[in-house]
Each structure stands twice: as C-alpha cells, then as structure tokens.
Amino acid sequence: MLHHNIFRATAMALLLTSATVGIARAEDKPKIGGTLRLAAASAAGTIDPHISYETGFYWPIFYVLNDGLVTFRKAAGQPSNDIVPDLASEMPKISSDGKTYTFKLRKGVKFSNGQEVTLRDVVATFERLFKVGNPNSNLWYNVIKGGDKCVESPATCSLAEGVVANEADGTVTFNLTQPDAEFLYKLAVPFGSILPADTQASDLGTTPSAATGPYMITSYDPQRGMELKRNPEFKVWNEDAQPDGYVDEIKYSFGVQPADAVTAIQNDQLDWMWDSPPADRLKEISTKSAGQIHINPSFATYAAEMNTNIAPFNNKDVRQALNFAVNRRAAINIFGGPRLAEANCQILPVDFPGHKGYCPYSKNPGEKWAGPDMEKARALMERSGQTGQKVTVTVGDAGFDSRIGTYLVSVLNDLGLHATLKVISSNIQWTYAQNSKNNVQITVNTLWQDYPAPSTFLPVLFSCGAFHPGSDASPNISGYCNKSIDAKMEQAMKAALTDPAASIEKWSAIDHEITDDAPWVSLYSPNLLYFVSKRLKNFTYSHQARMIFSKVWLD
Amino acid sequence: MSDNILEIRDLTVAFRTEQGPVEILQGVSFDVKAGEIVSVVGESGSGKSVTSLAIMRLITDPNAMISGTIRYKGRNLPGLSAREMRKLRGREIAMIFQDPMTALTPVHTIGWQIAEQLRIHFGVGAKAARTRSVELLGKMGIPDPERAYGCFPHQLSGGMRQRAMIAMAISCDPAILIADEPTTALDVTVQAQILDLLQDLRREYGSSIILITHDMGVVSTIADRVLVMYSGRIIENGAKSDLLDKPQHPYTLGLMRSIPPMTGERPHRLPSISGSPPLPGNRPEGCSFRPRCEFSFSKCNAAPPLFRCNEQFAACFLAENGSHQWQRNSAQERTGE
C-alpha cells in the first residue's frame, strides 16, 4: 500500500509540472463577450487595494482592476513570478547603491473615471498607503525616505523626499533609506496600485476605486456579490503586464456554499468557484467532470505553529517528537487526498524560490517525507520529560483546520500528552493566536506568499522583530527568536542586492536550520484545485494572480 | 293514545366500562301529551338528564348502548338517520340546559347564536333572522333586546342568558321543549321569572315541556304531571296534584319531606333521606331504594314493577294493594298540620 502511494505521488508530481490537468486544446478559438460567473461562500471585507490583504481572494481581482508601476507577468507557471513594467513604460533605472529607483511613467493611460494617470497620482498613491494604514506600511514602505515619519503620524504624511516627481521628463524617483532587493515586488503587488490623487484618504470600504485595468467594479455588496464591467478607458499598452479581457462582465456571487457551487458548476449555472469543493464531492467530480478540474501547486505551507515560549513546546524534544509523529499522509487525507497536497517538512513551500527538499522528520530522513517515525518520537518524548503535560490545540472553525486540529489532538495524546481541542471563530483565530497573552500552545494556519521571495516567509514569521508580546499583531506566532538566525537572515537580505543566487542559497540554509529547530510542524504544501464550468476556456494559472480573470474566455 | 306527542318505551342506556356494561337507565317508559308540562324529578345521577339526552340522541359517547323506542309523533327517533334527526333537533324538539354560561358558545354573540338556528332550520336570510331574534329576545322579557343581540354570553347576567337560551330553543317553535334543570344556576327571584316564562310559552305556543329538575318546589309550581326517577328507573308517575298529595313511593315521600314548609315555622332542620343513592354499577338486588327505605320488607328483595294506583303508578310493593298508612301521615306532615 505504501509503495502504491509513493508511486502515485510521483505520478502526480509529473502531472503537476504540466500545471493544469484540464486540457485546453489548441483548436479552441478565443471568444469575446459573455458574463463570467464566479461564486464564493462569503466576501472578504474592504475592496480598497491599498488595504485589503486578501492575497488569495481579492488580489487576483485587483490584478485585473488596477496597475502599479510594475507588475507580475500575466502568464502561466514560473514566468508569472517575473516582474514586468506596467504603468512605467520600462523597467526602472536603479542607482548603483540600490537606493534610488527612477521610473518613467507611461503616457496616455486613463483611469476609468476618464482622468489621465499622472505623476501626481503616483506620489499621492504612496502617501495614501500610510494615510489609510496599509497593513505593511511599517514593514515594506517605510524604506522610502520619510516613511517612518509617516508611520508615526499618518494624517500629515508627506513623502516629498521619498517619492519625487519630475514633470519635465515624466519620471518619478523613489529615494530609499537603504537598499531593498525586494522593492519592486512591493510595488508589483496590489498595494502598489496607482489610484487617482483625489481618492479619499480613508478606507474605501465597499466603494470601488477608479480602475486602470480592463475591468472596473460597478457594484459591491459583501452580502450579495460584486459586479465587474469593462473599463471603457482601457487600451492594451503591454500585453505581458495587463492584457485585455475576453469576457464583457464578471459577476461574483457571495453566500454560495461550496456544495451548492459544485452543483451549479455542474449545471452550467456558474463558471468558477473560489472555495475548494467539499471533500465528499471530490470523488464525484473527479470521475464525472475530470475535464473541468485544474490542479496547481500553490506557494503556501500548511503548518501547525508551536509556541516555543511555553510548556511543553518550549522543549525542542517535544517539538521534534511531534514532527516525527505526525503522519503527513493522514493530514493530506483530511485535505482531500494525495493529489491535492504534497507532504512538506520545512518552512518554504514546495517549488518556492529557495525551497530545497529537506525532511529530517521522516522514517528515512531525506529530501522527502516518507512516513512517520513513532519510535523516534516516543524516544524524544521520553527524553523531554514532558509526558503528561496538558496541551490545548487552538484552531479556527473554517476549512480543514478543525479537522486537522482533531487529528493533532489524537497524535499528541498518542505521544503521552493530555491534549484537548479548542475551536474558535476563524475570523479571530489569526489575531487570537498571535497574541501571546492568550497563551495559545499550538495552532494551525496556511501561510501564503506575498511575492515570490523567501523573505515573505522567513523573516516575517521567525525574526525576533516579528514577535510582539501581548499584541494582536505578532506574526511570529511561535515566538521564535534566535539571534544567530536573525543575523543570517540579515545577510541573506543583503546578498540579494548583489548576488541573488547566493542569497537564495543562504535562504535555503536558513530554512533548513529553522526546520531543525522545529518551531512548526509543517504538514504539506496544498495544491489549488479549481473546478470550472465546461464553457470556461483558456484557464491560465499564475502563481501571483491565480486564475487570471482576463485570460479566460467562455465558449 | 293519539294525543301523546312522545311515547317512550323501555328506554335503556348502558355504558361499556372496564367492569362490564353499566346501566344508567333501566327500562324507562313514559308518555308526553301535547301541551303538557311533564316534570322529571330525582337526585343527581338518577338518570333524568340521560333520559333527556337519549331523547335528543345527544349521547355521543361511543361506549354508550341505547335500546328501547322513542316515538315522536309516531316516528321512532332512534331509527331515524342522522340527517333526519338533525332536522328534528331544535326544530321539533328543542332543549335548554342547566348552566347558560357554559351552554352558550362564548365566542359568538347570543344574537348570532339564535339567528344561526333560524337560518339552519328555516333558511332565512341574515336580516330576517336578526329581526326575528331581536323579537324573540324581547318576548323573553329582555330589556333593550337590540343591545342584547350584540352581547356575548359573558356580558349578560345568568337570568338574561337563560332567557336568551330559551329564546333560542323556542325560536323554531318546537313541539317539545326539554328543559334540563333550567333554573338551578339562577337566583330564586330569577327562577320564578323563568318558570313564569315557560308557562307563558306553553300557553302561547302550546308546546309540550319536559322539565327536568331536582327541585320539588319547581315541580309544585308548574308541572302538570310528575315523573320521579331513582337510580335509573321511573319509580313514580302521576298527575302533580295526585302525586304531591298522595305519594305512593317512600322515596317520593322523602323528597316531599325535604321541601321546607310554605307556611308556619320552619323546622330547625329539614328531614333528609339517609344514605346516598347507589352507583349505577353497584345497585343492590331487588328494589334499589331498599337500603335507604324505612319501610323495606322481605318482598323488596325482588325488583318491584310499576303498580297502578288510581291514576298514579309507583314501583313499590307497598303500592301493590293501594295506599297505606304512611301516606296519610306524610300528607299531614307536609302541610304542617
């Protein structure tokens, strides 16, 4: 059986490299027009692109609405991780010290409200990031000169020194306080969307912003849905950055439960669903509607974060014991079976830049996980002297979390701990788990990339600076603080400016080192399964924008 | 016999119980003549009400077994179809009940309830039914009948309710009116008015009235003929004057004794019949009054048939050969001489 599974896993890996399982035949001719019907169980809050951090949910929408100076290439597979010029007419000129970036603004691009995109809008956009309290303004954008001041007093934010427009030659120059290898990524994500200068300096909430992309939002009601129509002002300026859309309208319905969405897609009443199809429908759709399924790897790690500051997980032996004991295959079975996830022992997701297969917590330690090792686990538990400790597994109530939690409880009990499960609203789970005051011992989360660089995982989740005791905003949930690793991360960041390849090597080493310390039990990298209607063609999966809404057409 | 409007023969009503059938009525027979007021007296549980309900075929208990004949104008009521019987009820034979509070539907106005009956039996329109109902209420001596028409039962006094009840009963001009203890729930003064009303009705419409009561005073006021019931049987039957003067059955005598004298000094304590009537399932052998009877003798171990004594009938072996000593005594006692 085991052998059989391994065989299947390899077969799957082969399949995955082809990125999509649904077969788009060459003779399918592009069609223009029609309404693309999307559905999700619920909306996800504000649609202010400077505020919404819904990387999976709203960012793919923002990518067809708005443009930054640069963006990720709208393409399938690895090329989608590349940065291409967007509202800038070419890639920026970077000074040799890496502290100034000069962009030439493209001429003649208009917002959906008819105004032209001007240098003033660019400047205003970056000031607005601070004014509206962009979630990363203090982490990403404070590298811009004047940024730290803006973080302190957002209302009066001025980036007069940081973002300098030169009306004469139509360029804008960013002055940074220090070199930043990932600055372009930070401009390429939707936070960098250029909005009109007169956009209100507070959360837009449910009011759509002016668009530069092929579509614009015409209505948004979080209880019901969202409607996107063609932006009449849009003309293609760079096919790679912002291609025109095929469909005329996109209609996103909220409040559609996954099971109902599956049925609706089967009946051709919907074209695409955000949520994963429920586990008990997988068999049915994979036999009946195999051609409508697209499975793609995602840059995410599903992991159980352990609190390294309180018992019993302040004991490395216990953390490693749990790592040895957890059967990743079992977790994958909960998630929907071996086709939908790949076992992972380390922090960086499978295939992510810097990921080098490494699994010390396996029957036969090696590059890949090969099965749990209960003997080692028990031995480590024995050594730790923590047997009998009480553990509460705190998980959110959405998705598979509570079921994985149940499984973890069962493993912890097997190891001789006294484990109980605590399910809380998934809406508060993320902040609740972060606050060290709540003494969460172990929790589970899916950690997604922001952009394709190891720094979106490692420093954000494991640096000493990312741990704020007693705060709801402390993404280093493990409370893991290791000065030597902090120093190494610093070095890796620096290296990225000069020698990207060496930097990646460094990140890989850090990844492995943290994995050895076991602040997490990484379980797997989930694959994204998209179930689409028969008439949806040219499904294009980008690592950044997921299904590119402007690329699909309807038969 | 042709002037008998109602002839009842051998009416027996029994209920199936866990202990076997229990006879509530044991072969009741009597006649009612046109225009006659027949009063049925007896203690509670003697079978008076069951008799009246049996005539109306209103015993709905599925465990009831009814036998005997009830001839109304020659038609045997138990043999009629439910539909025919329904046409008769309220139209030919009407009934008024003891407690006018509970006997009227609380959620309809009394006017509506009277009109309902008129509309059912005569098919008259709403307006005509209303006019007639108001008229009837007026005839019953209800002041301001227009207002009373729109009143709900609980808004009227007991006497008014009973008048309304009677108005309803006579609305279709029935040939027989069965009044089941119509005055029990009322004040003494109102009782007299209601009894006057019943007498007026007989005079005006010529209806026969079967008046069921346990009150000898009521009997002496208006009855033409009296039936005395005890434990499911008629034990004495005779014209009022005869029966009151010369009761043939010791039980009747007992009843008479319990009436306080009309004149003279009231006795300190009214004499009463000792003991209580037997339960229907638990009757003694022979005469069921025997255990309470001060005159009982060996013959009483057998059930006495109705003996004729002039125009009176009595189910007592003492009456087998005409009147007896105790009768005279009782008559003297009654008049207080």
Partner: protein, 324 residues
C-alpha cells in the same frame, strides 16, 4: 386606553434596551472580539493598532461606545460593519428581510393549513387508529431536529433522488427573489417551507387536537347539537372557532420569533440569505454592529409579536376583551 398603550410601549422599549445592553456586553466581554486587529490588517504594529483603536473609539469607556453604537444604529443609521468595512448595517438587514419573510410566510401557510387539518381530522376520529397514527406523526415532527431534517431533505432532493422525476425540478440551494423569477422563487422555497413547517405542523396539530377534544366536552357543543347543527358546522363554527384563539396567539408568537431570525437553522441549512443567516454570520465573525442590528431587529419582532398577540387575543376572545 391611552395609558395602556403608553405602558405597553414603555415595556417594549425597556425590554429592547435590556436586550441591547446584554448583547453589547456579551460581545465586548469576548477576547479577540476587539476588531482593531482585524481592521488594522495582518501585519499591523502595536502602534497602528492603538491608532485604529482610537479612531474607532474602542479606547473609550463602554457606556460611551454603547451610546455611539446605538446613536449610529437608530438615529444616524450609518452604522457600518467591522468585518466588511463600509458596508452599512441597516440596508443589509432590510435586504435580508424579504428572504426571511418569504420563507416564514410560505411555511406559515403550510403549517397552519396542515396543522389545523390534521388537528381536525384527528379530533373527528378521536380514539381511533387514525387519530393515534396522526398524533404519532405529529409527535415525530416535534421530535426532529430541524437542521437534521433539512439536511436529509437536501440529501434526498439534491443528491440521491435529484435525477428522478420526483425531484428533478428542485433547483440548487440559494435564493431567487420573487421579482426576479416567481417560479424559481417558488421552487427554491418549497423544500425549506416544508422543512420549517414540519415542526409546527406537529405542534399545532397536537395543540389543536387537545383543545378541540376539550371543547367537545363543553356544554355549548351539546347545545349546538341540540340546535340541530351539522357536525361540520359544530366543528368549524363552534369548537374550532373557540380553539382558534389559542392557536392564533401561538401563531403570532411563533411567527414573530421566526421573522425575527428564529428560522436561523433552516436558513443556514438551505443557505437562504435571510435574517437568521445574517445573524449567524455576524455572530461567527463577531461583527458587533451587525450583531447589534440583527439582535435589535429580532427583538423588535418578538416584542411586537407579543404585543400584537395580546391585542389580537382581546379582539378574538370577547371574554378577554371585557376583562381589561
């Protein structure tokens, strides 16, 4: 009379005030319900949190926060969600109302008709096998968890027998407005209507059966028979007419509670975007403005239903009318 109305109104306001305070306290006492962190976003610093807290007034004393919330809910009517920022609460509640009304109205028609029908039939056949069978069925209806029954109905109509002629007409779950497509509106609601009404059919049939058999013991039914009325007329115009008063008071309270979000489980199971589901989502998201709005809305209907039932009771039952 005026005094009674004023008193009644005062009672209503008092109860609603009490409930709003309880709901407010319940949710402000919850750890993690402080929306600042969610509003501030994923990687917010403690300083940013403090800013958000100040700008939303979360650092003010509780009674000030309560006052502000109420002011924005009832007077300014511009209260917005903490989760879906910018979304106004009042229009969302108003939008959900027709869904709940559609569900409850339809179910009410079914349960009144069937409940009264069953009650009458059982009374007519009282003591027989038919009576016992119907009452057993009614009791089963009362004993079923509504969400479970809904799931089973879904399983039958959406999956197992969906491809048969019997249920092929059943559309997928969700709600279509009556004005969009009356026929689809009807089709989507048939199964939820039935599911929601089953419990009440059982309840009403049992109550009516008990009340009618009680009435049949009453003297006035005998009077009605003595009047020569037909059995059906006695049943409908006399016995039932009297029982309806009890039934209608029950109905008023049930209807009020359901319109006020009591159909929460049915709405969740059938994914109907009504008040119940709105409330449930708000509770799950700990979205305080929505919770307050939906709780106040529900309470309003429950309290109103109570008041209306009192009035209707007096109107229908002349005895009560005169008693006051």
């Amino acid at each position: 009379m005026l005094l009674a109305v004023v008193r009644r109104a005062f009672d209503m306001v008092f109860v609603m005030f009490g409930i709003s305070v309880i709901a407010f306290l319940i949710f402000f006492a919850t750890p993690g319900s402080d929306p600042s962190a969610r509003i501030a976003g994923r990687n917010a610093t403690p300083e940013m949190l403090a800013q958000v807290r100040a700008s939303f007034g979360f650092d003010r004393p509780l009674y000030v926060q309560y006052g502000r919330l109420m002011q924005r809910l009832f007077i300014a009517r511009d209260l917005t969600s903490f989760v879906n920022r910018g979304q106004k609460v009042v229009p969302a509640v108003l939008q959900a109302t027709p869904v709940t009304l559609s569900l409850v109205f339809g179910a009410a028609v079914i349960w009144l008709t069937a409940g009264i029908g069953l009650g009458i039939v059982a009374t007519i056949f009282r003591g027989t096998v038919i009576d016992k069978g119907l009452m057993l069925l009614a009791l089963c209806g009362v004993s079923m968890p509504v969400f479970w029954f809904g799931s089973v109905m879904n399983l039958i109509t959406q999956s197992r027998f969906h491809d048969t002629w019997l249920f092929s007409w059943v559309p997928g779950l969700g709600y279509t407005s009556f004005f969009e497509s009356p026929s689809l509106w009807f089709k989507t609601l048939v199964v939820p209507w039935f599911t929601l009404s089953v419990l009440f059919i059982g309840l009403y049939a049992r109550v009516l059966r008990a009340s009618l058999s009680e009435n049949y013991q009453e003297d006035y039914v005998r009077t009605a028979r003595a009047k020569g009325l037909s059995e059906s007329r006695i049943m409908l115009r006399h016995a039932l007419r009297t029982s309806l008063i009890t039934l209608l008071s029950m109905f008023g309270l049930d209807f009020g509670a359901l319109v006020g979000g009591g159909a929460i489980l049915t709405e969740v199971v059938f994914n109907l975007p009504g008040i119940g589901r709105l409330t449930y989502q708000a509770l799950q998201n700990l979205d305080l403005p929505f919770i307050m709005a939906t709780v106040m809305y529900s309470t309003f209907f429950v309290v109103l239903a109570n008041a209306l039932v009192d009035v209707a009771h007096a109107w229908l039952d002349p005895r009560v009318r005169d008693a006051r």
